[in-house]
Subunit: 329 residues, 2 copies
């Protein structure tokens, strides 16, 4: 690999964008060109002091020449469906598109644009989709017919927290998804249990109610909310704003992919990949940055079009030399 | 991918060869051409009824035409240093070469032979080296500077069992490598401990002594044996032949790779990949078979020479179609 630094830019500057910015600083083979935002750049302060530009500048020839990989840190609901294809028509990109049902369609349009521009776009990276998907695929390849289980948490779910915040009388809320230890241990012991939604995860909610709000009503609105909570055992705690700030301002998350297959005459083989993350966006950002290195290199090798974590060889992610890697075997 | 079955052959028929044979039977896109052995084929019974041939037949044009991938199941001490380069000069190969210090040299000679023949040789697969190496590399790429820990066991170590069997007065022996739970939990909790050899693993030995043997002498010979036991806390139990047969005839193994990195302002990020295997050779065999699929495909794509697990994209391992994979994201 050459000694040229990889010029990386960030598009979208929320929690994930900040996680990516911090991760780039830990990779000496990369340089952060700048952060591109839809907001007024003057109002955005970068955590590590990077330059902030208007997103429209990404259309300039100067940017196109300078930026080797653009990391898309927008949301999957409205940002990425538009930005993913558009920017794959101009840049090597990496994103964390995670609307599961729409991934095939998203892959298709991004692929068309990237093939047209001769760029490489690695979509749906992060940890799930991403590292978890990769492990599910690998376990299935090594142990055909293995039962695959995914447990999430303990961790904060942004979507579920937001759903609670929309209830009348709720000032703030934080929802934790908790895996059921007993179920996980059954899986680890090779019991291959059939598990309902309720048997795999529970939900714990911390809520700050507005003064005089009907807390019993709020609790009922949460626990019976369709899709979000009705299929789960949910516990609701009402706390003060102060307690919320002190104890629940982190963004921990994690989970496990567990595969259990059988070989030979009834030999259980259990594979587990698990994450315990103090900061979900900073870990996701770190994954995106490693895949940015891969996007740049794969493009250099002429591997254009949309790619997923399944298409990326581990060596592409690493800054190590071939000799250093061989020593790591 | 085409509908042609991948014709696979096994070279060397010990525990690993049997594991590979059983694994091939679970992969409908593969066909076992036969087992090739140095022994008299008439004396070898295959567990699944495959045809057994003399290893010299592998030099024939007929075999070279028929076999898509040859899985080398010999040992790393004497078989593979010779067979690896030789057969990479004729076949796509996969092996589990695991003499760590000699891997760079082995890679070099196998690479030369495979480049010369236009074949693809994936070396040092299995779980360590193999899946564990891959996870160490990936964690290091995602979390630069992360502390990487590898724990082995609980599991039977063949090399240590053999070392005990060579002691005077020992009729049979089985050695289990045990990870120290306390140390693993410190690592999982992000404490980044500095661990000595003794603090990471203990060794438990089950020994059948010959009648009238000096058991105290045997115990001392084991616990003080240089390289093998002297740096560990070792416990020795003397048992009967019957108990050995009943309780210690399996070949369980496993272990964990745990990486702990820090992102942002002191956020611990812990990644763990762990295996709990009822049969070590059957799992290793299953890994080799998945990499055999990759060797065949990579060769079809013109990717010749020696490769390692670092060079193989996850999609290469899987029998699933692109559409099926995208759905697994």
């Amino acid at each position: 690999m050459s000694n040229k630094k990889i010029n990386v830019a960030i598009c979208g500057y929320g929690n994930l964008g900040r996680g990516v910015e911090r991760a780039i600083a830990k990779n000496p083979d990369m340089e952060l060109v700048g952060i591109f935002t839809r907001r007024d750049p003057a109002t955005v302060d970068s955590v590590m002091g990077a330059s902030v530009y208007n997103i429209c500048d990404l259309l300039s020839e100067e940017c196109k020449e300078k930026i080797d990989v653009l990391i898309l840190c927008g949301g999957s609901a409205t940002d990425l469906p538009e930005q993913g294809p558009t920017f794959a028509g101009m840049y090597n990109t990496v994103d964390s598109f995670d609307t599961h049902a729409k991934i095939p369609e998203y892959f298709k349009v991004v692929n068309q644009m990237a093939l047209g521009s001769g760029k490489t776009a690695i979509i749906s990276t992060g940890w799930d989709p991403g590292m978890f998907s990769k492990n599910r695929l690998e376990i299935d390849a090594i142990l055909p017919g293995a039962n695959l289980y995914t447990f999430w948490g303990p961790g904060v779910s942004q979507g579920h927290s937001d759903a609670i915040r929309r209830i009348n009388g709720v000032k703030d809320a934080r929802q934790y998804t908790m895996p059921v230890e007993k179920a996980m241990n059954q899986v680890r012991d090779g019991e291959n249990p059939v598990l309902s939604v309720r048997q795999k995860h529970t939900r714990v909610c911390y809520v700050v109610a507005e003064e005089g709000a009907d807390t019993a009503g709020i609790e009922k609105a949460i626990t019976t909310m369709p899709n979000y909570f009705d299929e789960y055992d949910t516990t609701v705690y009402f706390i003060t704003e102060e307690e919320m700030r002190e104890k629940h301002s982190g963004m921990p998350h994690g989970g496990s992919v567990i595969g259990c297959g059988v070989t030979g005459e009834g030999n259980n083989q259990v594979v587990e990949y698990s994450l315990k993350l103090a900061s979900n966006p900073e870990f996701t950002g770190s994954v995106l940055v490693a895949y940015a290195r891969a996007a740049y290199r794969m493009n250099q090798m002429g591997l254009c079009g949309a790619k997923t974590v399944f298409d990326v060889a581990p060596a592409m992610l690493s800054a190590k030399t071939h000799e250093e890697m061989i020593k790591m075997l």
